[in-house]
Amino acid sequence: MSTPTKFVPQATPETQPYWDGTAARELRIQQCVPEQHTFFYPRTSCPTCGTEEVKWVTASGRARLHTYVISHRPAPGFTPPYVIAVVELEEGPRMMTNLVGIDPDPDLLELDMDLVVDFEARGEDISVPVFRPTGSKEAA
């Protein structure tokens, strides 16, 4: 019997640089050239000023816990309870993620706690960004 595996995302031509980044353990976000507006998710124009002149930058990987839920529902590949979170990157944008390296215990999960990015392999070629408390042990 095969074990159900976690959802594997698939890149589009426009988001491919992001997924190339995570595969290389880099979190790439975008910035517009004229005004340096930083944004996530990947797009071909700046959602703040509309310019199509946008470039990829590598985020520091530092973030803070913006909000979360502890899911008690069985999702493929996940063992409940597990933490679904929204983190705020040091550069400003927010993203959905999972927390690793910390128990799913409300007493431990303090909003705005410092986190750092890690990467979790999904299948052969894809990795997704997950976050762990700063100073906690990196995933093997």
């Binding site: 959802f7 995302p9 698939q10 839920v69 899911s71 679904i84 929204v86 993203m95």
Partner: protein, 382 residues
């Protein structure tokens, strides 16, 4: 501007678990009942609106209607409020005379229902689905912790939303859950996506509803057995397809924008509203709605509900059918919020509030993705 009215309104005969009725049939049964309610026939309808599946073309054809005005706005559970707004504009512009708006959803039994879209290369597929989210309970719930922290709302106050709505549903024989509950019952129910427990989450049911919208002039020329309900003002707004990208996770911009536009058009303020429906997929959504629409100040909604203001006998009766938490929730609940407002304004509700002349309906679509507001009134509002 000419007055546009809701002339016919009806829900499916039954709500809840209906494994013997398909999604399409839930639309059709609702449509025929709404036409009967309006005293109209299929030959009177020239406009049709519904969400994309099964879609207005399928519904119109099955009923025997050839529409010359079609709206397929499909932006989640608020879509039917968008349809009312668009129908009002079409009727005023002379593009349609009588518009039929239908909802039917086999949300629980999934009979003839569209499959869940889980495309791996969609935005959600790339940036949300990989993190173990399983539909609304694990995504719509995400803003709660931030909202509690920034507004000072307590988890007990959040539970009070579910408690208040059971007080209403206990008076409604059509409600799926009618037994009153305590704050402790709500907090002690099974954790779903902590801090949300089962009783803070909506039902999953089968059912449908439909509306007939037309000009007052036409409705009065035909006559009707039920009081006409005027559409006094409408508003709509959409923001993000992914809840993780909300600009501010403690405020819903589209609640503010759509309600402001609707109240401005109606030339009313929140003080003028007698009865309120706020789409309650989860217990926190009415708290956002009360604050973002300005019925209460920032951080005041939890105490407002806990103090009983939205309960039977309170100053602002809210979700008087029991809401998505206790009455019914097929998946796209907005139609049922409109139906209850119409019943209250007609004086036909199960838990009738005395002296209702105005009602505001706030519909949410997706996970804080879109919203529309309707301000409705009866003859006493004129």
């Amino acid at each position: 501007m000419s007055d546009v009215v809701i002339m016919g309104a009806a829900e499916t005969d039954q709500l809840g678990k209906l494994p013997d009725i398909s999604t399409l049939e839930l639309h059709l049964q609702s449509a025929r009942s709404a036409l009967r309610d309006a005293g109209l026939g299929i030959e009177d309808i020239d406009g049709i609106a519904s969400v994309s599946a099964p879609g207005p073309v399928t519904i119109a054809h099955a009923l025997g209607i050839t529409p010359s005005w079609v709206d397929t706005t499909s932006v989640g559970g608020a879509s039917f409020l968008f349809h009312v707004r668009h129908a009002v504009a079409a009727i005023r512009a002379g593009q349609a005379n009588a518009v039929l708006i239908t909802h039917g959803e086999s949300g629980r039994s999934r009979v003839g229902a569209p499959p869940w879209a889980m495309a791996k290369d969609s935005l959600s597929g790339q940036f949300e689905f990989p993190f173990g989210v399983l539909g609304p309970p694990t995504t719509f719930s995400l803003p709660v912790m931030r909202f509690l922290k920034e507004t000072g709302t307590t988890i007990e106050q959040l539970a009070e939303v579910a408690v208040a709505q059971r007080r209403w549903s206990s008076q409604n024989p059509r409600a799926m859950f009618q037994e009153e509950v305590s704050v402790q019952d709500v907090l002690d129910s099974r954790p779903v996506a902590s801090p949300l427990t089962l009783l803070m989450c909506c039902l999953v049911t089968d059912g449908g509803g439909a509306l007939v919208v037309t000009s007052r002039e036409f409705a009065e020329s035909r006559g009707t057995d039920h009081p006409l309900v005027s559409v006094l003002g409408t508003g709509e707004c959409a923001t993000t397809p992914m809840i993780s990208q909300m600009a501010d996770m403690t405020r819903c911009e589209q609640f503010e924008v759509s309600s402001r536009h609707a109240l401005q058009e109606a030339r009313l303020t929140t003080d003028d509203i007698d009865h309120l429906m706020i789409y309650d997929a989860f217990a926190h959504v009415p708290l956002f709605g009360l604050e973002d629409m300005g019925f209460v100040g920032r951080g005041e909604a939890g105490a407002f509900v806990a103090d009983g203001h939205t309960s039977p006998g309170g100053s602002l009766p809210m979700n008087t059918n029991g809401g998505g938490l206790s009455y019914t929730h097929t998946g796209m609940y907005g139609m049922f919020a409109i139906q209850e407002a119409v019943r209250q304004l007609r004086g036909e509700a199960a838990a009738q509030v005395p002296d209702v002349s105005t009602s505001l309906v706030l519909g949410n679509g997706g996970m804080f993705m879109s919203a529309a507001t309707l301000v409705l009134g009866n003859a006493a509002a004129a």
